[in-house]
């Protein structure tokens, strides 16, 4: 049952719906933020149009800087701007501005606590045909581990727009993870958004499904189908990976005692990693992390890649069914296998 308070998209379970990439939400959001606050500036490293930063460039040409293909320099310049009172959004692809420049992010931004917003587009499998070199599957881990950093992974256009506005108001470094592929609306302009607040989109008592990014829609669709079969899931949109909303997660898990995380990222270090850390310390229960399993991607369409790397709807359904079989509080056995295992209660 969908949470009516969140005013989600009425077409959430339809198949033929309008699709917009989350990066467009940033592009529109940063113009709005720029209209509200004249200190906001935008930098890009030869990817103005791909990241939709060109909309800001058109609107505020004097508050925009094109750096060329030089992400390390862009990071340092963003820090210098922030130390002078500006609120820079620096935009590129996730592999470049959350990877190539990691030491600059660490030293010039995070250790300095500079008020810089890093916008990483084309993350996960969304840059499909470009292949593994361009598919950031490690960026959440790289950014999450840095002190002072906030990490946000919006699920759709509207949430990306709201996250951009929230990032502009938040004082401190933020990593905003976006995607290339056009994906369906999940939320609406009326859905609330707050940094650090996870939302239970669908309620159920059997399995907790925690997701971030556009894959959330697949999770909701699968959960909706299973609901008809009597298997009810809590589906949580955990769009802020750091700080993690442990309260919302633990409240759900204390009810279901079974957890699945779904993300377009390595299963270590990202959302699954963050949830595993939380549960291990506060509420050890069976956990299945879905994502890239210590592997790089390859060229292919977005949907083909999701299917091949175990993030298709069938794989999600199977994972929920398996987890649902596990009763009780603690379990033994390998819960990460794709083959339905023999889980023994302790």
């Amino acid at each position: 049952m969908l949470n009516q308070d969140l005013k989600l998209s009425p077409n959430i379970f339809d198949t033929d719906v309008e699709k917009v990439p989350t990066r467009f939400g940033y592009g529109d959001g940063v113009v709005l933020a720029g209209e509200k606050n004249s200190e906001i500036v935008v930098l890009t490293a030869d990817l103005a149009e791909s990241t939709h930063s060109h909309l800001f460039e058109k609107r505020f040409p004097d508050r925009f800087a094109e750096l060329g293909v030089a992400e390390q320099n862009m990071t340092g310049i963003a820090a210098g701007l922030a130390l002078s009172g500006k609120i820079p959004f620096m935009a590129s692809y996730s592999v470049f501005d959350a990877g190539l420049n990691w030491l600059q992010v660490r030293t010039s931004i995070c250790y300095t606590n500079a008020n810089v917003k890093i916008v990483g587009s084309h993350s996960g499998f969304s840059d499909g045909p470009d292949g593994a070199t361009h598919q950031a599957l490690e960026d959440i881990a790289l950014m999450r581990v840095l002190p002072n950093m906030t990490v946000i992974v919006p699920c759709d256009y509207e949430e990306a727009k709201k996250a951009t506005l929230a990032a502009a108001n938040h004082v401190g470094p933020v990593y905003l993870r976006l995607t290339r592929e056009a994906t369906p609306h999940i939320t609406t302009s009326h859905t609330p958004f707050e940094i650090g607040k996870a939302q239970v989109l669908m309620e159920g008592e059997h399995v907790t499904v925690i997701c971030c990014g556009p894959l959330l829609r697949s999770a909701l669709q699968v959960a909706n189908r299973l609901d008809a079969r009597g298997i009810r899931c809590d589906v949580i949109n955990c769009s802020t990976i750091k700080p993690l909303d442990s309260e919302t997660i633990l409240k759900s898990v204390s009810k279901t005692r079974k957890v699945i995380t779904i993300e377009e990222h390595q299963i270590s270090g990202g959302l699954g990693g963050a949830v595993a850390e939380l549960l291990t310390e506060k509420m050890p229960v069976p956990l299945r992390r879905m994502g890239a399993k210590d592997t790089f991607g390859e060229s292919g369409s977005y949907d083909e890649l999701l299917e091949k790397y175990g993030l298709g709807q069938k794989a999600i359904e199977l994972a929920i069914l398996e987890m649902n079989k596990i009763g009780g509080r603690f379990a033994t056995g390998d819960l990460s296998t794709d083959v339905p295992g023999e889980f023994k209660l302790v």
Binding site: G76, L83, S84
Partner: protein, 290 residues
């Protein structure tokens, strides 16, 4: 009593030379206490720091966050002992705090940390990042139509880092004439002489090709330092770089020119010897104007 900006902002050359000696003394004492740290670059740039903070820069130790102040960014963070010594001498904080360098709970971190200590404008240590930070500040000043200047010191060894050249290319292209880059050209890096490890020359031609206004000076001649900084204010359409030729370990004979002293502190005996040399300049007076 800490010297104040008012007393020293237009300090004359003999006064500045005397301050530079004091700064070198502080550096030796700090490194001896810390038992680790970087001697050569700290001593080699003392004259530049004296000239900047007691003549060139518009900064107020009593109002270190004045929005209209000139900014000084240190890119080669490992020579921060000289930055700390200068800030203390100028009155940004008490000189007694200098002995806490690199010790637990100190505001004087082994490499500079923005926010820890008044007067520190940036975080650095990993080489190659400071010039980009300074460019960000210069860009912000231009966007705001502010008239303050940004001065950035780098080493020469850190030109091995690609980011330095990304930054140089951008500043030249963007015509950031409110930026003065001071390069400590002391010809050494950890593994040896720069021209042996990774040749940088011809530096002037390289930087001119990147659209920088290039000056070369004797980095120990205070008058030349001040003149070059003042001249950079008059350059239009281009950022300025001052290649300051310095002697690593300057004024302590057994350290001078030796790359082995890049990252080493003096022991007790060596510190005593160094201080003796600094205080008497081998029996000579401190300044020819004395």
């Amino acid at each position: 009593m800490p010297t104040t900006l008012m007393q020293h902002h237009n300090a004359n050359i003999p006064q500045l030379e005397e301050i530079a000696v004091k700064l070198r003394e502080s550096v030796i004492e700090m490194l001896l206490q810390a038992k680790s740290g970087h001697s050569a670059g700290s001593l080699g740039t003392a004259d530049i720091f004296a000239a900047l903070y007691f003549n060139v820069l518009h900064v107020d130790p009593k109002n270190p966050n004045d929005p209209d102040r000139d900014r000084f960014v240190l890119s080669n963070g490992h020579i921060c002992p000289i930055w700390y010594a200068t800030l203390a001498e100028a009155g940004f904080f008490e000189k007694s705090e200098l002995k806490t360098l690199r010790k637990i709970d100190s505001r004087l971190q082994g490499h500079p940390h923005y926010g820890s200590l008044p007067g520190i404008e940036n975080t650095s240590g990993p080489l190659g990042q400071g010039l980009s930070q300074a460019i960000g500040m210069a860009l912000a000043a231009q966007m705001n139509n502010s008239t303050y200047r940004i001065y950035c010191m780098t080493s020469d060894g850190e030109l091995d880092e690609g980011q330095t050249w990304e930054a140089a290319m951008y500043a030249g292209n963007r015509k950031l004439n409110n930026l003065t880059w001071i390069m400590d050209r002391n010809n050494i890096q950890i593994d040896g002489h720069t021209e042996d490890v990774m040749p940088l020359e011809p530096l002037r031609e390289k930087l001119e090709a990147f659209n920088w206004y290039v000056t070369e000076i004797d980095g120990h001649n205070i008058e030349e330092i001040i003149n070059a900084c003042n001249m950079s204010k008059a350059v239009s359409q281009r950022p300025s770089v001052i290649i300051a030729h310095t002697i690593p370990g300057k004024s302590v004979k057994f350290m001078e020119y030796k790359f082995e002293w890049h990252g080493k502190p003096p022991d007790k005996e060596q510190a005593r010897e160094a201080l003796k040399e600094l205080r008497t300049l081998e029996g000579q007076i401190r300044s020819e104007y004395d």
